[in-house]
Amino acid sequence: MSDYDPIDFDVLVVGAGGAGLRAAIEASARGLKTGLVCKSLLGKAHTVMAEGGVAAALANVDKDDNWQVHFRDTMLGGKMMNNWRMAMLHAKEAPEAVYELERWGAAFDRTEDGRILQRAFGGHKYKRLAHVGDRTGLEMIRTLQDRGVHQGIEVFMECTITHLLTDDGRVTGAFGYWRESGRFIVFRARAVVLATGGIGKMYRITSNSWEYTADGHALAYQAGAELIDMEFVQFHPTGMVWPPGVRGILVTEAVRGEGGLLRNSLNERFMQKYDPERLELSTRDLVSKSIYREVQEGRGTPHGGVWLDVSHLPADQVIKKLPSMYHQFKDLADVDITRSPMEVGPTMHYVMGGIQVDAETGASTVPGLLAAGECAGGMHGANRLGGNSLSDLLVFGKRAGAGAAEFARANSGKAGFDPEQVRKAERELLSVFEAAQGESPYDVQMTLQELMQNNVGIIREGSRLQLAIDELKKLRARAAHLCVEGSRLYNPGWHLGWDLRNMLTIAEIVARCALQREESRGAHTRLDFENTDKTKWEKLTSFARKRDGQLEIGTSSKGEMPPELKSLFA
């Protein structure tokens, strides 16, 4: 039954957000036959939802900005956990990446003198975020999408990759299914780039969509690649909290960038207590923890959040600079934000951890496998600054595309794989249809979300992390006995059943890495280890990998920065 003709590419990119599109454009511009696969329709990836902007030291608004300041802000925001080479390349190359987007047709908001306008954001010393109102991600994905399809990239929409195919330790292809028909598809490629985004769907309150099921993280792990920094999960301080249907939906940081104020139920600007200098524009880890504390100590709003207010700003300015927030609250919560405050609270938003990559090329620790974007680790350390993701996608998407092209050129012999891998993948995917009874994948996912939300959330503790690890084991047992109704045709229950495996694998890695790091740093806060440990943990990166079929967790020491970069922190 598995006599598929593999579709051949030099470079196969999995994921069509900003990172995947940029990687595919680069590989194809270098003359390689490039394929691009995504789970949703083209243009619907998470990147489309990004609101606030893309960070780059263009110095159009604040003349003193430059790459060194951006680099420094990024490292300080990441609590020095960042891979400094990535943070350096990112700060240096982001401006050109933004200008390139402009040359490809992106129409950013303008300064008085006709250049790209930049706005303030948390943790950025200067006004640095190039933006289009509060729909920057849409502008970015559309620009890349149109560039990509006109360059002859072959796109496979609504197609999910479930397995990487390997030959003697090298990745040589991928296996997946068409969501529409449920039929299987096999790709053979000289290099595969993962750009699958994040892991948010393992949490109950999240700004992330159904797509974020940790697929890329799990695919890389199963292929033997190393994951790093997985304990660092970002909770964005401001998600909607009311009504229940919208809980978790993002309220962009641009609201604070444009002058929004945070207050508790006593009408106090509570950030004065926690970060008197940067106030509302402190880093996300700190603002989230502060909100958490205010609510815990009884100074929260009726639905367990705090107030975020822009009603002191001129109404027309709010509508012009934050149009989608204006509509989001008006349409979904009956709140006119030009008159009344918004009720907000933390929402799981982004994963800093991911596939360990080489800063220059995006290569993972497995030959033939590369990664870029949110599913790659290292760039953001223990806490990502707002706006640094969109720039990350462009800078490292391009680098991974180039890296994949080079690898494919250097390995131009025929890439193969044992067809038994394909047959095994098929069996694994179809087994759920054979069970006459079993668990609903939706029920298992809900239990998982509750578990992660309550025990591996903003504030952690050894005993709760251990509990999560034990419970995850039970959940994996439940997930081994799923039952799926209906046919293979566009069947979300069947799809979720597979996604669950990925989430369960990665959830355990998040919990174990969090248990391992006995300190508090950035987005990782331990009640039982409240201090930041500058002697031991500051120098260590957590890793997770599969060895002899078993999960192995450990630490490795971080590389030293060269003196000229070190001096920036003096």
């Binding site: 489309v48 047709g105 129409a107 289009v132 159904w210 229940p244 919208v246 993002l250 349409d331 979904l332």
Partner: protein, 247 residues
């Protein structure tokens, strides 16, 4: 029919594969502030695990969840239950203009094929990329499009007359307008715009009415494009006729 405890509403969803479809009724206990998409996802998680539906952002930003709710083309994630008459069943159908795949999912791939044929942004040689906000206000309006294809769905030229070969539909006039109006774009798409069927549009404005992004599709995209095409052909005839008239 499936029933649940709690504050009840009745929902009827058109289910089935291809042309074999029928409405299936569900009784759902709803929570305050729910939108239609919440109900559909709830039904999927609790009662109909194989119910096919597209969504991503749940915040009207990605254009995935288009459907016809009580006969009106809407984004399900932007349609509050509070705004519907809940004494009657809420009826959810897929958008009609495109072929049905399963349940609420339709085959919109034609749109992606059309898009490939549009000449992309082509800046003037050595352009300095200095331009002002007022130069791009209109361009930005066009670029707000989230590709929900609701305008394509309601446009009668596509819906009833099925002119897929001769008419690209309002969504792509919006895209073309965004390109044509960009201060630095140097390509000439007017001939293509005429071939794309712009004169088949008779300004019914149905597209504008359904656009969730409030893009003034007819007034700000289609009419200006028509004018440009007409101006261009007049100037062409002026040029041809010039030698005669000057005699």
């Amino acid at each position: 029919m499936v029933q649940e405890e709690g504050r009840q509403i009745t929902v009827r969803i058109l289910r089935g594969e291809g042309v074999k479809t029928q409405e299936v009724e569900y009784q759902v206990a709803v929570e305050p502030g729910w939108v239609v998409l919440d109900v559909v996802l709830h039904i999927q998680a609790r009662m109909a695990p194989d119910l096919a539906v597209r969504w991503n952002c749940k915040a009207a930003k990605c254009g995935s969840c288009s459907a016809e709710v009580n006969g009106k083309p809407r984004l399900m994630c932007k349609t509050r239950l509070d705004d519907l008459d809940l004494t009657k069943p809420v009826v959810v159908h897929p958008i009609k203009t495109f072929p049905r795949i399963k349940d609420l999912v339709t085959d919109v791939s034609w749109n992606f094929e059309v898009n490939k044929k549009i000449q992309p942004f082509t800046p003037k040689k050595d352009a300095a990329f200095i331009y002002f906000q007022e130069d791009i206000d209109r361009v930005q309006e066009m670029r707000k499009c989230i590709e929900c294809f609701l305008c394509q769905n309601v446009c009668h030229v596509l819906r009833n007359r099925e002119q897929y070969q001769r008419f690209v539909g309002p969504r792509f006039f919006v895209r073309l307008a965004g390109l044509e109006m960009h201060p630095l774009d140097d390509a000439d798409r007017l001939k293509q715009i005429e071939e794309d069927g712009i004169f088949l549009c008779n300004i019914t404005k149905c597209c504008t009415h359904v656009c969730p992004e409030d893009i003034h599709i007819t007034d700000n995209a289609i009419i200006p494009l028509k004018e440009r095409v007409i101006d261009k052909s007049y100037s062409f005839w002026n040029w041809v006729l010039q030698p005669f008239s000057s005699k």
